[in-house]
Symmetry: D3
Subunit: 273 residues, 6 copies
């Protein structure tokens, strides 16, 4: 169960409205790696965790914080949208700055949300739960989380470079720090799990049942020879076996011919051409 | 540019048709972490790589192999669908086995693809490019790749447990091995990059510009005390600073009140209630 | 069965082309609450109505009119797109007005539809049937319809404020009037049904089977005390019982621990951390 | 900012596993009118509210509770999935009950989430933010909320009828009660706003600017005469004007002919046929 | 503008309910090539036609008929759903026939639509306007239409083979006939346009501006030699030039190396590996 | 199985960066008829082909080439994005040209992909496998392919007209030529199949089972008389029967009344109104 306090975790106040930046900032709210994604991903991972309470708590703590990050960004976007030149009388078609705002704003901000945040990306695509994962395997999922925090921090850093609004930069610098922490924590938790289970997910699948002659082979499917020069090829693979290199890919299967199916399926009959 | 050989990389021949398993196998073809996802993700990462040719080659080699994995699974699904009891005369309503096949098959296999594979998940949702990422930052992307190979291998392992068809198991054991290799290779490449750049993505963003007092703090947003018992909390964080623990979350921002916008936006006027 | 007359229900002629406004107008054609949504929603509600012929007729009448509204807006958009500066020779990069049109147009209008309307929203997202509902319960669905006409009229009003084209305003003022009528009619039909069934949907579910001690309680999940000041809290609830107020939310359930599942699911084994 | 307690708001414990019901229950978790939809809709409406603090609080309180409902249902689904007959050794193909479970389960529960809840509907479609709305106009949005609670309670009632599991029924009877309260509260708040603003959204758009001769006219677009028999047609419309009835729809516009566009658009040239 | 008659274009009455077939029949209602797709595709093509009134009429006539086909199928599905064994008391878990119905039904039919049709495919995916096209070029679009009617008739034929319900078969045999007509009409109209314009779309693009040495060359990107045996290779191509055959594909471009971008984009710096 | 060469099939080098054109070019990469669509469509058609090896080869050859076209366009887009004015210091708000670039760029190019190509359309919608088809019936599918190549070439031609960059035009003129070839080849293969099977898909469904009186009738669902003037109406239909014309559409079915369903479905009870 959750409770809410009306105060934000960190201030979310721009120095001045900027409807074009509001559009861009939607990416870290409702894009593939926005805050809705991490909030929902951690919630579902937490709720699906079976019998590892410390990790479940870590997930729920982080998830709960992330809902508050969605709140901060939504508030920031709503404020960036104030004073957008929407009404006809404000549109001086010969003012190029207003012109590029009118051409560049997310029309949803004007027409749908009444100058509020939208649960969508910077291109106006609604957030989709197809972005997230909660697999029941914590090592797999913490890798998903490390990726999400890496992509997320990268996007926040890029937005930081694209504005000179001190209020916006202040909030982004807080998000950058929390993303640093979250990368740190997932890295630490991954290390802990890898030390117990080994690096290959899922660790519980018996090695003997996989075709082990293919488990350490870098196969070269291209021309040129740069692939072979990976430095790590000379080292032991993370799971303890030596890497191998195969310069020419081999096709071990036969030509894939399919049998015909009954005529009532109304496929093309065999023998056409 | 690409070329094709008609032989499969590995045999894809089931012992007998099994339309219900064909439906399930769609997940590793066209689901969130199916082979289309990794093929497309590696292709776009490779094509977007700027000035790191060895990594670009690694990405293109792996991508090219994965297109061949899509091919193997598509072939397997087409063969699992042969002999599905589709026509009315084959439907003995009183045969419960046929009944559960008819009730459980993916209807697209019967109606849309004529007993062929579909570019969709095990629940019949079309593959979406919203699943993949190519960010231009290789450390971020290799983490995405490690996650994809971990989730993917987990799903293949689960499918392996759900069938006793030796032909299907043979192909899955090959895919398990390649997923092992791909986890190994991304782990090795990640280690290499982390040694050059440090563990926090993006490494090029100046630390001084983030709010560093929040970069190592685990904040407890829940009741109970289990979070605090994470063993790694006592260790140095991966980026070299000590972790901190904050038992009570603090709201550093103010209550988020928004200003009204002009009446021509037709929002609810302030003062209602 | 349907028939068509070539004349529009109302004129759809702008005074002059305006490709930027054409992009915005897509929202009321193919957005979440555009005319495709109401047309399709009323059609499916009408087709699914069982044994209430007067309401079925009302739905089919309104649905049929709405298909004609889609037609009017599609025609208007096609005309707003005429004279868009597409060809290279027309692009004077130093003309800022043309520049902002080129930057702000929906590229689908230029590349995909050949200056015609698209079945998509103002951000270029294809219309989705996930927007609509036809539940078989008319009171529930008429509330959906009242909402759709309210959101729809709000969006039309906002568009009206954003243009000074008299032809566009003329068509919008017709749509505003029809949305007024449709709000009026769903309000009237809702009142009629509520008088027969009571206000809680579905009315046919026995009250005794719900946990009635929670049916009138406003629970305060936040800090501060403003929630308690809702004026209506002092009144009888619409279903005839008194409202209650609970200042502190209570967790009536236990801590949600899940049991482990068999090892062949390859989840993280219990006891990790 | 949000905080979390580990206890559930209400118990979520089934008497026994039932993987088929777990699939159905996904609808009220991640379907169009599931708990994710109401949680997210209320959050965005609350965050976008400008200057009406009491309503903002009401929205945030209800939103925060709904996140806890997502939690309860996710927990219930995870428990309904325990003991699903996934592994090959458990599959006695000649046991029709197991057969129909295997054919009828959501394959994502077995392959993707490791017997946990998914953020998707009962047909396995990922939740989409395209389901929700936050318009900045509270009367419009409270109507959206009343609709969502009506559709939601209807779906919960239907699920209640489809099981005899006492634990499941217990949780559903709690959700039914909360949906009753939420219908009551939105009805009360709507009444309050309508008394201040009148029933037509948006109330702030000047009546004189819409084509008022069409604002109260029921137009008959079908054959037969049942439409005319709506009882409410004889009454005053909710906005205070008399209803009218038009038996034959009139086309007030001209035939919609479009002008040709320049040849470089490569549309079909005029004059073909 | 459209009008509606309450009678169906053709009877839509099954001999008996069949909820499993109702699920399958959703494909031709709301799937990629269902009746919603053709109705909407023809409507948008008609509305976007500029200056070719005879073709515009043909499109509007066919579109208007297709809306009536959606109506027929929706009605049929609603009737196939009657008597579905939904309530708990009807579920004899030991009756395998009921078991496979319960496992195999589309859960939306039970929970969302109250035993009515849904605007979605046979796998429960909402219809998307991303399925359709209206390009402004009639030859391109008539080819889209011919394809849609071919895929559509194929799907109807497959459904026809999967049932022995005479009422269902009667309606399907009507739809098959209309799909025959629509294939005939688009074939005839395509022939007419090709005779005026030639076979390559768009015909108005100057041949001299394309790299004509590649306009008739079949390039062999695979091993083996079967490709070369296409009979039509020896004939003149449809646009009047001879076909050519290239046994080995040539890469005419250089190796695709990209330049680095400024450091503030936070991509991986060049020189890593 | 596939292999890759590092050289492009054709050069992909613009004369100068142009971020706005990069956004537009996304349409032919990841839009409905972009190169991803044709590559994936041909792959799945090839993999699903049963017993017609020459056509399977043709499909695989063309598919393999198309993956290389995706590569060329992705490379071109990455180069068009170089030098985009992203960082704050480059943003001279008073420079209207930079202003319209900033307002008009796809924000994903700046924030998500780090100035690389995205697998999405020109409006930023992720590519969806819902765009493609592989039905098992080659005549149906070759018609889908002819349509895809027609829409695709039309879009490339429109892009060609919208730029004066010689490098971009050079690559587009190559794509135009390949689309000409692909139209030629599918036209030739269609002709071959039609000569063997006749023009109506599927050819294997017995004519006697369709309602033949409706198989050649153009039904006029509109007013006016232009439909009747189609020249081809006077000719024999492509399948060898005469066309007919029906001036007034007839409703052959009854009024579509549905029976009520049991009360536990909680639909509106019959008799309301």
């Amino acid at each position: 169960m959750f409770t809410h306090t009306k105060k934000l975790q960190h201030p979310a106040k721009p120095d001045r409205p900027d409807p074009l930046f509001a559009k861009k900032m939607q990416e870290i709210l409702g894009g593939q790696y926005g805050e809705i994604s991490v909030a929902m991903q951690y919630l579902f991972q937490g709720w699906n965790t079976r019998g590892n309470e410390k990790y479940k708590d870590l997930l729920m703590d982080t998830a709960t914080e992330e809902i508050g990050h969605v709140e901060m960004i939504a508030t920031m976007i709503a404020r960036l949208l104030e004073d957008a030149p929407l009404a006809e009388q404000e549109k001086a078609a010969d003012d190029p700055v207003i012109g590029s705002i009118l051409g560049g704003m997310n029309p949803h901000h004007a027409i749908v949300s009444g100058l509020g945040a939208m649960p969508e990306s910077s291109t106006g695509v609604p957030w989709s739960a197809g972005y997230i994962v909660a697999s029941g395997n914590l090592l797999a999922d913490f890798r998903a989380n490390l990726n999400a925090e890496s992509q997320g921090r990268l996007q926040v850093a890029r937005l930081y470079e694209m504005t000179d609004d001190k209020g916006v930069k202040d909030m982004l610098s807080f998000l950058l720090a929390r993303d640093t922490m979250h990368q740190n924590q997932w890295l630490a938790a991954i290390k802990e799990l890898e030390e117990q289970e080994g690096p290959i997910v899922p660790s519980t699948f018996p090695k003997a049942l996989e075709k082990q002659s293919f488990s350490h082979k870098l196969i070269h499917f291209s021309d040129g020879g740069e692939s072979a020069e990976q430095n790590w090829l000379k080292e032991t693979a993370p799971d303890g076996e030596p890497f191998e290199y195969e310069k020419e890919p081999k096709a071990h299967g036969e030509i894939a011919k399919l049998d015909p199916v009954p005529p009532y399926v109304h496929n093309t009959l065999p023998g056409r051409e």
